[in-house]
Symmetry: C2
Subunit: 236 residues, 2 copies
DNA sequence: ACCTGAACACCGTTCAAGT
DNA sequence: ACCTGAACACCGTTCAAGT
């Protein structure tokens, strides 16, 4: 026949065919362990027990691999756009994303940086899904579509800003945290940095979840009053 | 004598001694032109007409060079902590930082990412100066020091979030913008991305300055009511 | 003491050579 | 048609050799 053996039997034992999922999962493992810079084609190939060149079957290049890792992590996020309690949804989504960032701190730079080099329309679908869902949630809550976009921007901007802030103050070992911080702040010239130096205790007691929650509250209050104004003016 | 010629005459013509400032200025030039990945020791050395190894006199390593570039850009920022109109100061600082980001889009990933790998106390002084000044501004405005820290976080988080948002939607060539956007959005599966697809026109009309200003207004309103509550409860 | 550049241990990616 | 790996054109950084 014209169709030859499809090759099911030609695989070397111990080398089941790779999948894109398996490749990305291992890539995420490397990023989590050693940071995005450590994710090289050669190392990924080695940890998968394959020729590094074979990876080009699963990602066009290294940049696409990094995008894939970001997408994989965002897949853990979910919200229910049909929930009428839109503020509650936004609040829990914020906390979900925060926890995800704390679980994968080395991925955050990818989340924040990769989209800067890809026009919105060309991003991986996985990274656009939260945007679509939030828009859907807001439209169902009564926002007109263009306003939903503004709200999304304010919300997501605030959320990512908070996460970056928190990770910047976060130090891996909590025991070392206080000592290291004092040490570092002590280095600052007292005349030039009086406030910052005196805030060492407050910096140590940082509670990210609480801080995020308060910020979200401020934002939601502002947004709700905006929604009310909009509905009032529409019903006149 | 024991002190020999200090070497002022030994320089090859056309090779005046480099300064850290000159090195960083050229580094910024490269980042602005081609992105942070293109800033290599070898290329920087070549564009300065020097042996790349000589650069290690001005920066400990490549990472320190990137920190230096971030610091250099932030030096353009200034605010007057003594101004009693703290809300006005925060608002103009926000716009200043936004314009700076639009002028140096390739530096933004550095601004956002580099601090993640350095504990707060160990950052370059230049990147801590805005923090100190904002704290000073807020304390003079009546916030207690620990609250000033919370306000700073909310403010700076929101600001950076906005800038990241705006740059993600920003496309270099405005003429190409609309076409490219439509093209990109058209690629999305209609059933899965109905809202996003329908928002193409709104996405094209994005006005970053206006969006930032509204966000700041929401935030400042929330913050001022917080300040009021605090002062009321203190005077009881 | 300072400067220079060879050398080392890596990179991503292309592409010719095998099967 | 697929897979493999040699080869190319780069990296950052160390350190020995020069002055």
């Amino acid at each position: 026949m014209a169709t030859p053996d499809t090759g099911a039997g030609t695989q070397t034992p111990g080398k089941p065919r790779l999948t894109r999922e398996a490749v990305l999962a291992k890539a995420l493992e490397i990023v989590d362990a050693d940071g995005a810079d450590s994710l090289t084609m050669r190392r990924l190939g080695q940890e998968l027990g394959r020729d590094p060149m074979g990876l080009y079957r699963y990602a066009e290049n290294r940049a696409a691999l990094l995008d894939g890792v970001a997408e994989l992590v965002l897949d853990d996020l979910s919200l229910t756009p049909s929930d009428p309690d839109w503020k509650g949804q936004l609040r829990t989504l914020a906390h979900d994303l925060r926890l995800l960032a704390l679980r994968h701190p080395n991925v955050v730079p990818l989340l924040v940086t990769r989209p800067l080099s890809t026009p919105l329309g060309l991003r991986p679908l996985g990274t656009l899904r939260p945007l679509e869902q939030i828009l859907s949630l807001l439209v169902k809550a009564g926002f007109r579509a263009p306003d939903a976009l503004h709200v999304y921007r304010a919300y997501y901007g605030f959320l990512y800003g908070h996460i970056l802030n928190e990770l910047q103050e976060y130090i891996v070992d909590p025991d070392e945290n206080e000592a290291l911080l004092r040490l570092g702040l002590h280095r600052l010239p007292p005349k030039e940095f009086p406030r910052l130096r005196s805030l060492a205790p407050a910096l140590v007691e940082y509670d990210g979840a609480e801080e995020l929650d308060q910020g979200i509250s401020i934002l939601l209050a502002g947004l709700e009053s905006q929604l009310k104004r909009q509905q009032d003016s529409a019903s006149m």
